[in-house]
Structures are given as C-alpha cells and as structure tokens.
C-alpha cells in the first residue's frame, strides 16, 4: 500500500517535471533592455508594457544604469553578458562598440528607412548603420519668456544683441545665466558648442585632420574668440556658480533668479517640474554678429542598438521591438510622455511644449550644427574638453595650455 502511494507520488512528480519542461520550451522570449536616460524610466516602462500587449510572447526587462553607463556596459561586454537591446549615446559610443564588433548591422532593417536621413550620420560606422537613432536634442539657450517680456527684451540673434540683453538684465538685478561650474560636463558642452559654431562648415574637415594626427584645436577658428566666450559666460553668471551643480542651476532658473541657461533641452523637463508656470523659449547661442552663423547645436542624442552576441530568437524579437518603435502608437508615447523629439519622418510633434517646437523648427529649416564633441575620442572630450574648460574658467590653465592638452590627448587616443 505504502509503496503504491510512493510510486504514485513519484509519477506525479515526473509528469509535473516533464510538463513544466514542455511549458518552458514554449515560453515567451525575454529581452533585456539597457538604458541610461533616467528621466524617462517610468515612461519606458509604459512603452514596454504597451509593446507587450501587442506582442504577448515577448517580454522586456528594463535595466537602468544612469551613471557611468558606458563603464558598466564595457564590463558587461567584457564578461560576455551583453544586453539584447542597448540604449547608446550617438556617435562615439556607437562607433566604439560597433568597431569592436559588439553591435548588429541594422542597415537593411526597414525601420531605418523610416528615420530622417540626416540623423543617420550619428549611427553610421564604416558605411553601415549600427543603431536606430531615437531622439534629437539641442544645446542652446533656454530663456524665460516672462522675464524677457517684463524688461522688454527680444531673444538675441547675434552676439552683440546677447551682450546688450545681458547688460540690461544685470541692470535690473537679474542674473543673465544660471550656470553650473562645479561639475565639468556643462562647461565641456559649452566649449565644444562655441568651437563648433565658430568653425561652422570647417568642423567636419577639422575632425578629419585631427584624426589623421595633424590638426590642432586652434586650427579652424580664432582661439581668442572661443575663450572670450568662456570669459563672457563666466562674467554673466552668478558669482557663486563655482559651487553650483545641475540641481542648483535648475532651481535658480526655475525660480526666475536667472533669465537664461545654456543647457541641453533635456533640462527643460526638470525646470518645468520645479515651476510648472514657467514659459520658456529655446534659441541657439550666438557667437558672432552674423545671424547666418547662429545655428542650433543639435544632433541625435540617444539610439537603440542590438547586441550581435544575442541568440537568433532574441535578435528576431529585438528587431520586432525596433519596428514597433516606429508605429504611431509608440511615437505618441515617445513624444507626449517622454517629451523627446523623435527622429522618425513625419512624426506628429504638435502637442509638444514651445521650446521643443523651437527645436523642431530649427531642425526643419536645417539651421543646425552637428554635435562635434560626440565625434571626439572619448578621452579628448571627457578629460581634455570638460576638465580643460573648467580649468580655464577657474584660472588654473590658460587657453594655450588647454589647447595643448586637448591636442595631446587626441593624438594619444589615435595610437591604438
């Protein structure tokens, strides 16, 4: 009797095991999505849930690494655990991983035919597209329309006008620029932005000459002008800006203590979050007195790439996700919830706030400069440009030393 019960239990166990194994074989594909944009983490969750409704057999796990995402990604690659879908910063990051062979060639995917052709530069390495460009971002002046109206000021289009605006604001005890000097990245963006704007059409040949080991930071431009802009920026910032990081900058701008901030448009979300009544506009930072030179420093920011080392089933599922991103349903969440400017042709962006409309109008009229810093070698931007700009502002290095270190760092990273 007893042995029969044991046998019965044993059978049940075996059948259960086999059953679950069969179930497991038909189990849906599980993808791992790695991303760094922490400001859209809740929205991405919503996107993934919506995608899951349309494709019930594909689930996507989100993994957010906001700080040092590149470092984390490199160590994941080194241990052979590449995520299936990877959010990558445009240009240098895509090129780095594509060059090492980690990314899948997406050139022939239909979804890449749906993005605006100009945005493909950011993901094209040796003639092949290795990622799907997702959003366009701009760096320029975000200004407070109410303050400008109060003092009868017009958004400046030339450097002369900008000087006049700053003088007028200072007279009325308003800080012209909310800035952050304690952390180096914003200053790095500023230096690269001014350099690119002043170089204008010469910037791409300059990058080529740098990559051939011959050029210098000082080549395409009048160095005097570049560093004068830094002096100008510092002179029109809060004297305490040396102690400010991003939070203080946003607070100062949102509270109306400062009328403008030189930032990426991604900061607008934080400012409007602190003060929903803010009316903002977005304009390029004018560096010369010729309105033709005043172009917005805008380019592709984030992209989605696929890992070449994933299994064929996962790659197929990941491609389905990329295709889905181009559907109106996905674009709607991307625009309305994530508040990011999509790269897809003919995407509807009418519901976005005024600064985004400004960005889109600059994009459509082609008045933009590429993000040259994304094309610098990593160390040349992260160390030489960012720290260099900061060291110049704090007076620990002069212009020549900053340029010399920049050239040296670029040359060093060419060797490998």
């Amino acid at each position: 009797m007893k042995s029969k019960i044991v046998k019965f239990l044993f059978m049940v166990l075996i059948i259960g095991l086999i059953g679950s194994a069969v179930m497991a074989a038909g189990e849906p594909v599980k993808l791992n999505l790695f991303f760094y944009k922490q400001e859209i983490s809740a929205q991405l969750k919503e996107m993934v849930a919506t995608f899951n409704k349309a494709n019930p057999n594909i689930t996507i796990d989100l993994e957010m690494v906001p700080n040092d995402s590149a470092a984390v990604l490199r160590s994941r690659m080194a241990s052979n655990q590449a995520p299936d879908i990877i959010q990558l910063q445009s240009y240098a990051m895509v090129f780095e991983f594509a060059g090492a062979g980690w990314l899948l060639d997406l050139s022939k995917e239909p979804v890449l035919g749906k993005v605006a052709p100009a945005t493909k530069n950011a993901v094209t390495y040796k003639g092949k597209a290795y990622a799907l460009p997702m959003d366009v971002a701009g760096i320029g002046i975000i200004y407070n329309k109410d303050i400008f109206k109060k003092y009868g000021l017009k958004p400046p289009t030339t450097f002369k006008e900008l000087t006049a605006v700053c003088a007028a604001l200072k007279k009325n005890n308003v800080t012209p620029f909310a800035s952050m000097f304690k952390v180096n990245w914003s200053l790095g963006h500023f230096l690269s932005m001014v350099h690119t704007t002043l170089a204008g059409p010469k910037v791409m040949p300059w990058i080529e000459s740098m990559n051939s080991g011959k050029g210098s930071f000082a080549d395409p431009i009048n160095t005097k002008e570049v560093f004068r802009m830094l002096d100008f920026y510092k002179a029109n910032s809060d004297p305490k800006a040396a102690e400010f990081d991003w939070n203080e900058q946003q607070a100062s701008f949102a509270k109306g203590e400062a009328a403008m901030m030189v930032q990426g448009l991604w900061s607008y979300g934080a400012a409007i979050g602190t003060n929903p009544k803010l009316h903002c506009g977005f304009i390029p930072f004018p560096c010369t007195n010729d309105t033709k030179d005043t172009k917005l420093f805008a380019d592709v920011d984030s992209t989605f790439a696929l890992s070449a080392s994933s299994s064929p089933e996962k790659i197929k599922a990941s491609k389905t996700f990329l295709e889905w991103l181009a559907t109106p349903e996905a674009i709607k969440i991307w625009v309305e919830k994530c508040k990011l400017v999509p790269t897809f042709k003919g995407a509807n962006v009418k519901t976005m706030d005024a600064p985004f409309q400004d960005l889109v109008s600059y994009l459509n009229s082609g008045k933009t400069n590429p993000w040259a810093f994304s094309m610098y070698p990593v160390a040349a931007f992260e160390d030489a440009t960012k720290n260099g700009a900061q060291e110049y502002v704090f007076g620990t290095k002069n212009a020549e030393q900053v340029i010399q270190y920049f050239d040296e760092t670029w040359k060093k990273s060419l060797k490998k």
Partner: protein, 443 residues
C-alpha cells in the same frame, strides 16, 4: 598514541587545503593576473575573439598562415561568409536540434588559441610601456613645474605693475631685445613709488602688441602636485589630523565624565553614516553654512580650497573609528600602574608622557596603519563630493585609475597604475610598521 611527525604535517595540510585553495583562487591568482595585465594594452572593449573579420584579412592573414588544415576547417566552421561576401561573421550561436546554444567555453578557447597562433589577439603584450608612460607622458599624474600665465590677452592693460613682479615675472623672461625695449618704454618707473606705470600715450596697434607681449611673457613658475602629489598631501594631513583629533577625543572621553557614553556615540556616529549621505550633508554645508560662518562663498568649487575641504570631511568622518581604538587601548592600561604613579606624585602631564603614551603605542601602530592605507586608497568621499574636480586638483590615484580604466578605456594602463599604488602602499605601511613595532612596550 603519538602519531609520527610526517603524518601530523599531512593532516595539517589536509586541514588547511580548502582555505589555501580559496586563498589562491580569490587572491593569489587575480593578483598575479593583475600584474600580467599591467604589461598589456588591454582596453576592455575588444572582444576575446572577433565577431567579424574582413574577408581579405581572413584569407590572407589567417587561413594562409595556418599550416594545419584541421585548424583551417575548424575556423571555417565557426566563421561564415556574410551575405554580401565582405566579412566573415562568427556564428556565436550554434544551431542544433532542439534550439540554439551559445558557443561553449572550450570552443571559444580553441578559436582563441588558433587565432592567437597567427598573431590575432585582443590583448597585446607591450612590456614596460605602461610604466614608462605613467612617469614620462602623463601630464596629470606626476608632480611637475608649470608656467602660470598672469595676464589674459582679452583683459585690459594693467595701469601699474609692482616693481618686483615686473622684473622677476616679465622682464627676466624676455630674450628678444626689441620686445624688451618696447615693454620698458611702455611701462616706466615713477619716482617715489615702487611700481611701474603705463604710459598713457598709445595707439590701438601699440596696445594690442603690448597685450600679446604681456600675455606671452608675464608668468610665474608654479608647482603642480599632480595626482601623486595630491595623494601624498591628502595622506600626510589626514594621518596627522585624524590621529591627533581621535587621540584627543579618546583622552577626554576616558575620564569620569557623566555624558561620556552619549559623547562617544556622537563622535562615532559619522562613521556609521553611508558615504553618499555624508557627501550630501557636506555639499549642503559647504554651499549654505560655511559661507555664513567664514565669509568665503566658494569651497568645493575652488581649486585652492577644495583639497582642504575634502580633508575636513575625511577627518570628521574617520576620527570616530580611530577614537574607539584609542579608547580600547587606554582601557587596557592597568589602573595599578596609574595609581602607583599618582602616589609617587606624578602630575597629569607626567602620567601622560611616561605611562599612557608608551603603553598606547600598539594602538598608535594600528591607527596609523589604518589611516595610512585608507588615505592612500581614498576614493568614495572624493568621488561623491567633487569627482576629482575642479579640473583635476582633487584627484587621488584611485580615482585617476578609475578614470583611466572606465572613462578612457585604458584598462592595461590603469592596471599598471594600480600595481604601482599597491607597491607604494606596501612600502609605506611596511616602513611604518617596522618603526612602530620597534617602539612597542611589552608589559
């Protein structure tokens, strides 16, 4: 029964074996692997075996060079020509009945070995180059002298220049006699003062010329401590101040004070806090409280003050822990000796000098060792408070290593620096232990 000696040794080794294996696996092997990597150009990104190989490279560089036909076949089994017939792609996933599986470790290592035999490897041995670069070709790393320019060519011309400054920092630097005479005519010494004054008569071109000359020649030579210099500065002062403060607190709290238990907890408390919270509190203090107390508005953002601000935080955070060790040391001092000296008529200072201090030397040894090795390895507070900035002035070696590896993709180079740091720590703490141990008193 007495077991023979050999048997005893055998059982001892058997008993220790698991510990030895673990020690070897998790310490000895990684340690020597680290040293090995420090001689390579490992960049952390390039995969162990390439995913794609150019067709011409594959044919000429690999297949032609392989003598063994079996190896050729083996490689071709895993590298398939792409549709466009331009590259050979690694079939990372092998199709088998019942699904696909990733390449096994054995297959990978075999491919790696075959590719390595024709000189294709992701990591190359480069000898001492990393160590050379560290001391010869890294502006940020070693201390050095640098010119600090005192005049910015965009600024207005200064009306007066002090005589000492004028001679030492401008005139002495000029070799060209034409430039020298130009500056000497533009700035003339005024009778009765010790400064040189700008001559007012000057046209636009002349003043422009003068500005470029001044920006070119007006400089002083200053000492840039570099990463090594900052680490040593930080270590020296952190060891001195945190030990002094901890000893002082321990001596005070070892008396028969009523609130001593509460005070001990309060002084130890900073050590319990998470470092991120500490950084948050202090960045708040430096921004909002310190300006009110001291009148200096910029602390962490100032290249001059940031190192001292960091020192302050570290001493505040670390001294509680050292205080506990000193307190424990004080409590091991037998009361009979102290009472005996009291009866002999020793005053407080004499007791401290001749009884407490000598008996406290074991605690000194531990505390200095602890704070020395910790401040040489300091990372977290600085990462959280300044990220090594402004510029590079507060970057200790460990943070520099982190930047080299994870920001600049120079893992091999960063490993070389880490090996160097390891040597420094071993030498410094070794010397410290040798001298302190000699002075310890046995009761």
């Amino acid at each position: 029964m007495v077991s023979p000696k050999r048997n005893k040794i055998f059982y001892f080794i058997l008993f220790m074996l698991p510990a030895l294996i673990l020690y070897g696996m998790f310490f000895i092997i990684p340690f020597f692997q680290g040293i090995r990597y420090s001689f390579t150009d490992w960049n952390g990104v390039v995969p162990e075996i390439p995913f794609n190989i150019d067709k011409t490279d594959f044919d000429n560089q690999i297949i032609k060079k392989l003598d063994n036909p079996k190896e050729q076949v083996y490689l071709k089994k895993y590298y398939r020509l792409s549709d466009a017939a331009e590259t050979y792609n690694l079939t990372n996933w092998v199709q088998e009945k019942g699904g696909s599986r990733q390449l096994s470790a054995a297959e990978r290592s075999k491919i790696k070995r075959i590719l390595g035999s024709v000189g294709i490897a992701s990591i190359k041995f480069i000898g001492m180059k990393n160590y050379q670069q560290m001391f010869q070709n890294d502006q940020r790393f070693v201390p050095r002298l640098e010119k600090r320019y005192l005049f910015n060519e965009f600024a207005d011309l200064p009306q007066t220049i002090m005589a000492g400054d004028f001679h030492k920092n401008i005139v002495n630097h000029i070799r060209n006699s034409k430039d020298k005479s130009l500056i000497l005519t533009a700035y003339q010494k005024q009778a009765g003062t010790s400064s040189f004054h700008l001559t007012p008569k000057m046209n636009e071109a002349q003043s422009e010329k003068l500005k470029t000359l001044l920006s070119q020649y007006w400089y002083t030579t200053i000492f840039i401590p570099g990463v090594i210099g900052f680490t040593l500065f930080f270590t020296l002062f952190n060891v001195i101040f945190s030990n002094l403060l901890a000893l002082f607190l321990a001596l005070v709290l070892d008396t028969q004070m009523k609130t001593k238990n509460i005070l001990r907890s309060i002084f130890f408390f900073p050590n319990v806090l998470s470092l991120i919270i500490v950084a948050f509190i202090w960045s708040f203090v430096f921004r909002l409280v310190m300006p009110l107390i001291t009148g200096i508005t910029v602390w962490l953002g100032s290249p001059e003050l940031a190192p001292y601000a960091l020192l302050m935080v570290t001493v505040w955070q670390g001294c509680g822990w050292l205080m506990i060790i000193y307190l424990a040391g004080l409590q091991t001092i037998p009361t009979d000796i102290v009472e005996g000296s009291q009866i002999d008529g020793a005053n407080w200072w004499q007791r401290l000098r001749h009884i407490t201090m000598p008996l406290l030397i074991p605690s000194f040894t531990i505390c200095t060792f602890f704070s020395l090795s910790n401040s040489l390895k300091t990372f977290d507070v600085i990462m959280a408070l300044t990220q090594g900035g402004p510029g590079y002035v507060t970057t200790p070696i460990v943070l520099d290593i982190y930047y080299n590896a994870f920001r600049d993709n120079q893992f091999g180079y960063a490993t070389a620096k880490a090996v160097f740091l390891c040597m420094v720590i071993m030498v410094v703490t070794g010397i410290q232990l040798y001298f302190m141990k000699k002075r310890e008193v046995e009761l």
